[in-house]
Subunit: 430 residues, 2 copies
């Protein structure tokens, strides 16, 4: 009898444990469906495609850390409470670590483009001469913005996929000593291309001009030490290497920039960072705080501090290296002549309808990457390296791209790709 | 034997069900700690205060629907995907229902103040004559904003807590037929006071001026039918009656306003709604979409549609009525002479240090309400009626305020308050 009761109890207990684990893992989203396995002889997918787990590998928004997802689901608290004050205080301090600056960093409720506007209009004096490096869609956007706000904008057009030559900037500044602002992307997201920020900063910092850097697809992905490199205005976006949903931009200014900001008459209210600075100094935000995202930002910044910024850069560099190495095995090439660690653009074969291919990859293989924009439409796919990603995600992405290329009648040995990918990941630690 | 197995199976099954429910409710945050029970003779709290479940009753941010919390925790998806396109399409349609308009409604990644700026600068021509109704902190903010952007601002100052007299507006417009904009809050959050929007609109719509309404603490809380009342610019905020975290503002314009917007030369980029309109017409957003909040907005708008807008207004009106009715039993009075259904301001006794009282309520009784701002600092507490609230939350809030007043040596019979509160809620259905 005792034995029988005990057995029944044990059976009950195991079932309960199974149920707890099931509910827990389901709630964590850990049971995501199956991986893809391929048969070399047939190139066929043995697991049903509809069971594949979705992979988001865009250059933002990115996959979220499970802990971030949990924090986003927390009950709301008010932003004028001791609990939130304490979170904000830590976040404002940790942001300086991320930006590698002694200057205050500001949290704006806006997308990255709002942050670009904030950085620009706080330092842009009416009719100021601006040199805008334009090498893609976001360079164009920032130059357009400056023009809208009445600047005398000179566009330094760089062929898409190429990096600006620093001597072009120094020549312009020599010929135009009245230039007040030089601005560029650290990584031009639309072409997955970096610009030589340190060299450019070296040149601009010797003049009266301010050097503004759009680091939306850059900050947290590769080194951009703001103070050391003498960057005057820096902007980051939450849905990139900061690993949060879209909704926050983060901006900071050098002392050289603050000297302009404090008396700059350009009309601004929502993006007037003098107001935000005064409030931050008192431990609060000027407008309502985005409580959900700032709480999650607290986790991310702490996580970055724990692992170390350099370790984060190495992690992302390894993903970029992996992706670049896989290109030739996929029969593809790298589009950019100065590839970024935050995002890689694969140039697609001319025989391929790139837009259809990208859509097919998403609908059939649940891999979301981005296509080309404007003049690059249909010619490239862009794969992001930021966010919460596992080696399994990287490997699966390569496999699914290989399979999709095969489906599009490309000459590709998917089994070979699989072995090479596995091998690379195994032999390349951070 | 069969019977025994069946019994064991049943016992196991019940335990499993109990466990499932427990895990489910814990994951939902439904088990929030204890309620407060009071002893009339001693006015002492029999349940430990530290076990009290927190109640957020500010005029925004508000408590979130459990389903919203779950949606916020979902894995990220990209905003340029068929999945998101379909969500956005539904949301943009349902927003028209919420705004009661045939005009497009726009989603901005910003706080409410960003939305106020967007509504203003899209229609504000350089040096335009503006009549700003100023009856509290947010009226001041909007007037300041107009001034920053170069308007010729005339402030119609209304004593705090009072409602503007429509004849003052019509007199101003008669004397100043060149007025281009009249702007007001529907509810001035800082004083919990409404203005007579329908009457004002009636007056302004007969002139060439545009009528702009800040409905951040109003839209979704009480009727503001945009088209019927001929409102020209309307702005709402996500963390108020829209029941989401802070981070989105929602704006819409009449055709009369669009006639100005399309050629208005006032510099704007992030808040240039011509760009957003063109993108929305193609089924996307111009900037990166705030995927998390827009997904959750989809749920809220669908929920509002299901229950009916009028039902939502009645629900919130009942909460406001309850709160107003409880005032005298708490020995308090209503501050505003034109109380809003979205938020109620209790005037505190002169003998009470209001700032300390509010903090005490929060730290000791886990009820977050807001205090007064600027000239009302320490004189009032403001209790919001928007968001996901149960009758239990309302009742508990009254009880805890009563207990806190007692702790502050106010002459109050807490047991009496308890009975009256219970009775009111029982006898007043929606």
């Amino acid at each position: 009898m005792t034995k029988s009761v005990s057995r029944t109890f044990f059976a009950t207990k195991s079932k309960i444990i199974v149920v707890i684990l099931l509910v827990y893992f389901l709630s964590q989203g850990r049971i995501k469906g199956h991986a893809m396995t391929m048969n070399s002889s047939t190139n066929s997918i043995s697991t049903e495609q509809k069971n594949l787990h979705p992979i988001l590998l865009a250059p933002g928004p990115v996959q979220l850390h499970p802990e971030v997802q949990k924090i986003l689901a927390l009950p709301m608290i008010h932003h004028r409470t001791p609990e939130f004050d304490s979170i904000l205080k830590t976040v404002l301090t940790d942001l300086k670590h991320l930006f590698q600056t002694e200057q205050p960093v500001f949290i704006l409720s806006s997308t990255g483009s709002g942050g670009m506007e904030a950085v620009l209009i706080n330092v842009l004096k009416p009719k100021a001469k601006v040199l805008a490096i334009v090498s893609g869609k976001f360079g164009e956007r920032w130059a357009d913005m400056a023009q809208v706000f009445g600047a005398d904008v000179h566009r330094l057009n760089v062929p898409w996929g190429e990096s600006v030559k620093p001597e072009q900037v120094s020549e312009f500044l020599k010929a135009n000593p009245d230039t007040q602002i030089v601005m560029t992307q650290a990584c031009e997201t639309s072409t997955a291309t970096t610009h030589p920020i340190q060299e450019l900063s070296e040149i601009v910092s010797k003049t009266n001009a301010l050097f503004l850097v759009d680091a939306i697809t850059a900050l947290g992905a590769f080194p951009l030490p703001m103070d050391e490199w003498k960057i005057d205005g820096l902007v980051a976006g939450s849905q990139k290497a900061i690993m949060l949903p879209t909704g926050l931009s983060l901006v900071s200014f050098s002392q050289k920039a603050w000297n302009i900001i404090k008396d700059n008459p350009t009309p601004r209210y929502y993006f007037d960072l003098r107001k935000e600075k005064a409030s931050n100094d008192k431990g609060e935000t000027f407008f309502s705080s985005n409580v959900s995202l700032i709480r999650a930002l607290g986790f991310v910044l702490n996580d970055i501090k724990s692992q170390g910024l350099q370790h984060l850069f190495k992690t992302i560099h390894r993903r970029a290296e992996y992706t670049r190495q896989m290109a030739s095995h996929l029969g593809l090439s790298i589009y950019s002549q100065s590839p970024s660690d935050s995002v890689t653009a694969y140039k697609l074969p001319a025989s391929l309808d790139g837009a259809k291919f990208r859509e097919y990859l998403e609908s059939q293989y649940k891999v979301t990457v981005m296509g080309g924009q404007d003049q690059l439409k249909g010619l490239i796919i862009r794969i992001g390296h930021m966010g919460y990603l596992t080696d399994h995600d990287l490997h699966e992405t390569t496999l699914r791209i290989a399979q999709a290329l095969y489906d599009f009648k490309q000459n590709i040995n998917t089994e070979n790709v699989k072995v090479i990918s596995e091998q690379w990941l195994k032999t390349h630690d951070i």
